[in-house]
């Protein structure tokens, strides 16, 4: 769900970026964070809580709360709300603490 028209802001069309989320190919835009690109594709569940496996989404969107941690290109615990999306990224919803 992207904003198409806005009374105050203008969102210029941007270059498309392609990435893989849990095996599914998706498209975002240059300038997106991983989290904003996923949200625009309707994906709200980013990880599972460590003990009880409850679904987790983002909460603060500025790198404070760690609720959006995911595994990106094999690296766990990446704060996806402040990590910019890049072409070809492989993003996996994180289950557990993550292993390096």
């Amino acid at each position: 769900m992207r904003i198409e028209k806005h009374p105050i802001l203008t969102f210029e069309p941007k270059e498309e970026l392609h990435f893989i989320f849990d095996g599914t190919p998706l498209t975002g835009y240059k300038g997106d964070t991983i989290q904003s690109a996923l949200h625009a594709c309707g994906i709200k569940k980013l990880s599972e809580s460590i003990e009880h496996h409850r679904p987790r989404g983002f909460y603060c969107a500025i790198g404070n709360c760690a609720s959006c941690d995911m595994t990106v290109n094999g690296k766990p615990n990446v704060r996806t709300c402040i990590t910019m999306l890049e072409e070809g990224m492989v993003i996996i919803s994180q289950k557990g603490k993550g292993v390096l």
Partner: protein, 161 residues
């Protein structure tokens, strides 16, 4: 009431209107009912018609005779709390700030809305001004039945759900 619902009481609203005979010319109706640190209405008025003073927490006061109805304060108020009102025989004419899409077009008929957000009748779009100085706060001139003089506050598109 206002501090529970966001809806100003009728007495509060009336206290901000000059006498009706003065409304043959447009005057600023300043609906700022709270001491907050803010003064762009005072500094933007080219005619010195709005007074706050050095303590920017004071509420603005309109010096009615100095107000020319130019509308600069309407788009300068960060709280969108100022409109202009005047009477023209059976019509009330307002200039209001508007920051939504679609932008109204001259000649369209929109809903007139009161301070509780309820539709009270029709609002005819007389003029739409959007120059750079307004910084995207559109100044819309609207006419309604004179009965809505003290109730009208904004417009709503007929396409709105």
């Amino acid at each position: 009431m206002l501090d529970k619902t966001g809806i100003a009481l009728k007495e509060q609203v009336l206290s901000r209107f000059p006498k009706k005979e003065l409304l043959v010319k447009a005057k600023a109706i300043i609906e700022c009912y709270q001491d907050i640190p803010c003064n762009p209405c005072q500094t933007s008025c080219p005619f010195g018609a709005i007074y706050i003073g050095d303590d920017i927490n004071q509420q603005p006061k309109l010096i009615v005779e100095k107000c020319t109805g130019c509308g600069i304060c309407v788009t300068s108020c960060p709280g969108l709390a100022i409109m202009l009102a005047k009477t023209e025989r059976e019509k009330a004419v307002f200039k209001i700030p508007y920051e939504f899409l679609p932008v109204p077009k001259v000649g369209e008929n929109w809903y007139a809305v009161n301070r509780s957000g309820e539709i009270i009748g029709d609002a005819f779009i007389e003029m739409v001004q959007n120059i750079p100085r307004q910084d995207k706060t559109v100044l819309v001139t609207v006419s309604t039945k004179i009965d809505y003089l003290y109730d009208f506050v904004t417009i709503r598109s007929r396409d709105h759900e």
